[in-house]
Every structure is written in structure tokens, then in C-alpha cells.
């Protein structure tokens, strides 16, 4: 068995490991993107560019290695994005952050107000609903009512299918 990675796979490993460094460099450069999503995409773009440069420098024209390298980099970016979204939008961690600032809250409603502002649970609900509205999965036929769109219906069926595959409907 050959244990040493080929040069395309080595390029993917180096590019994957460079992602945290690029996230750090983008964070501290003068043209830092304001949106966290663009921040991540800029760093991911730099990691991809590094891999392309390394591939061009050590070109080995064997497609299985190239495919494996691309899958490896894509998986690393996906794993990086999962951690990135946890740092930024992790719900439980954000709740904990709020509690640390307030030291103590007297009830669930009080915690919710501390987390979401004066609107409390209503503001929190509207924030989560806004994602569905922005993605075109739901619409607001009236100001206080939410309705599913045909696209949302498809996604809901897909979500139900994925939940069924993982046995989550029984929990």
C-alpha cells in the first residue's frame, strides 16, 4: 500500500490547513468584509486559489488523484463552514453569552428578551422566519401570518425525507 499522499492530495491538505490562517488574515486586513458570510467566502476563495497554484506547480495528470483532492478540499471547507457558523450563529452559545453579560435572568421569557431585545420571543420568531422568507420558502399573506410557498413545500418534503433517513421522526 502507498501511504504517501500524491501531489494533488498534498495540495488539498495544505489548502485545507491554510483555511484558519486565511480566516485570520482576512479578519485583520484593511478591506475586511463586513458580512461574516463574505468573510468566510473570501478565506475559502484564497484557500482554493492556493490549491490551484500548488496543482499548477506540481501537475500530475491522473484524474482519480485530482477528484480525491477536490473532494478533500470541499469536505474541509464544509467542515470549516460548520465550525464558522457555530462561532457566529450558534444558538446555545449565544444564549450563554447573553447570560454571561447579564449574570442572571429570572425566567425563560426574561432570558429570551435579553437575547432577542425588547421584542422577546416575537422578535426571535420573526428572525428565524425571516430566513424562510429570504429563501423564498415562505411568504407573509398578512402581517401576522406565515404561509408556505411551492418551493418551501419541496424543501419541507426533502427535510422530512432526510429526517426519516436519520430516524429523527421517532424522537
Amino acid at each position: 500500500m502507498i501511504w504517501l499522499p500524491s501531489s494533488p492530495i498534498m495540495s488539498a491538505i495544505v489548502a485545507s490547513l491554510s483555511l484558519p490562517l486565511f480566516l485570520f488574515l482576512v479578519a485583520h486586513c484593511p478591506w475586511r468584509p463586513k458580512s461574516p458570510m463574505r468573510h468566510f467566502l473570501s478565506a475559502a476563495g484564497l484557500a482554493c486559489s492556493l490549491m490551484v497554484a500548488l496543482l499548477l506547480a506540481n501537475w500530475v495528470p491522473e484524474w482519480p488523484d485530482l477528484l480525491a483532492a477536490l473532494v478533500l478540499l470541499a469536505a474541509s471547507l464544509l467542515a470549516g463552514y460548520t465550525l464558522w457558523s457555530l462561532i457566529l450563529w450558534g444558538f446555545a452559545l449565544a444564549m450563554l453569552n447573553v447570560l454571561e453579560q447579564r449574570h442572571r435572568v429570572d425566567s425563560i421569557e426574561g432570558w429570551c428578551t435579553a437575547y432577542a431585545g425588547d421584542g422577546g420571543i416575537d422578535a426571535f420568531t420573526l428572525n428565524r422566519c425571516s430566513l424562510l422568507l429570504a429563501a423564498g420558502f415562505a411568504r407573509l399573506p398578512s402581517s401576522r401570518e406565515l404561509a408556505i410557498t411551492p418551493r418551501g413545500l419541496l424543501v419541507a418534503r426533502l427535510v422530512n425525507a432526510i429526517r426519516w433517513i436519520f430516524g429523527l421522526d421517532r424522537s
Binding site: A27, T125, G167
Partner: protein
């Protein structure tokens, strides 16, 4: 068929086996956190992968490269974990499911807040209490020293990457 192609196919087969194993194990193992079930399956199959490849290499007298198989397997593990995480506790997708199940496929925001968002909020609090990060007393909720450690660690990471996470999505 080249040795690298054999390695790719082996990685793909192991990724599919991992997906099936995780889906079955999640139905029967309820005591372990689901992420740990994913991790355990990945570790066991990840350890079996080089062993199986070595057997195939010895059987057919070819030098099979390890990394194409490992890359495809690792990619499959991450993709499967991502698919699971997306549907496991997502509040937005939960609201979408509630909409899908509702009569006439529409609900009021108040109903979503009361019957969906607030229970999910309470669920997360229970998790924080169970994890020892928060204490629940008669006068309310307070952060524990363990919780403080977790928050300080998070704040340090946020400072390193110059981001601030309020847990709110910005869609505009």
C-alpha cells in the same frame, strides 16, 4: 482499472457503508449524543479502511494508494454529518415543517412563537442546564464557572477572527 481507481471505489463504498451504518445506529442507540454516533462510526470504519485496502492490495499484488480512498471517505463522513446537523435542531426548518403540517399550510406568527419558538428556547436551556453550564434556581438562571469558561473560550475565538456572534441571522 488503475490502483488509484480501486482506491476511489473503496472510499466510495466505505462512505456509503458509513451513511447506512449511521442511519441504523441512530435508530437504536439513544443514550449517546447523535454527533458521537457519527464520530464512532467514522472512527471504526476509518480504521477498517486501510486494513481492507491492505488485504485487497496483498490479494491482487498491487500497490494501492491510501489517500484517494481516505479523501472520498472523509468527504462522505463530513457531508453526512452536515446533512444531519442541518435537519436535527434547526429552528427555521422546524418552522417550515410546522407550516407543511398545518391545515391550509399557513400559521400565525403568534402560534409559531408560542408553540414552536418558545419550546425550542426552553429545550436549549434544558441542554445548557444538563451540560452543567447553567444553574436553575428559584430566582432564575445563572451561569456556572464551567459556563463562564465556555463563553470566554468562544469570545477568544471571536476576537481572533474579529467577528461577533449574537446568534441572530442577518438576512438583509
Amino acid at each position: 482499472v488503475t490502483p488509484a481507481e480501486i482506491s476511489l471505489v473503496a472510499g466510495l463504498l466505505f462512505a456509503v457503508t458509513h451513511a447506512i451504518t449511521v442511519s441504523i445506529c441512530l435508530r437504536f442507540i439513544r443514550r449517546l449524543a447523535p454527533v458521537l454516533v457519527h464520530l464512532l462510526c467514522a472512527v471504526v470504519l476509518g480504521a477498517a479502511l486501510p486494513a481492507i485496502l491492505s488485504i485487497v492490495a496483498a490479494r491482487f499484488q498491487v500497490a494501492i494508494p491510501f489517500w484517494p480512498a481516505a479523501s472520498i471517505f472523509y468527504g462522505g463522513v463530513i457531508a453526512w454529518l452536515y446533512a444531519f446537523s442541518a435537519v436535527y435542531k434547526s429552528i427555521s426548518l422546524g418552522i417550515l415543517q410546522a407550516l407543511h403540517a398545518a391545515p391550509e399550510r399557513r400559521v400565525t406568527i403568534d402560534s409559531v412563537a408560542l408553540n414552536f419558538a418558545l419550546p425550542r428556547f426552553a429545550e436549549r436551556i434544558d441542554l445548557l442546564v444538563e451540560g452543567g453550564l447553567v444553574t436553575r434556581t428559584e430566582s432564575g438562571y445563572a451561569i456556572t464557572p464551567q459556563g463562564l469558561k465556555a463563553v470566554h473560550r468562544l469570545q477568544l475565538i471571536q476576537r481572533i477572527f474579529a467577528v461577533s456572534g449574537k446568534g441572530f441571522y442577518l438576512t438583509s
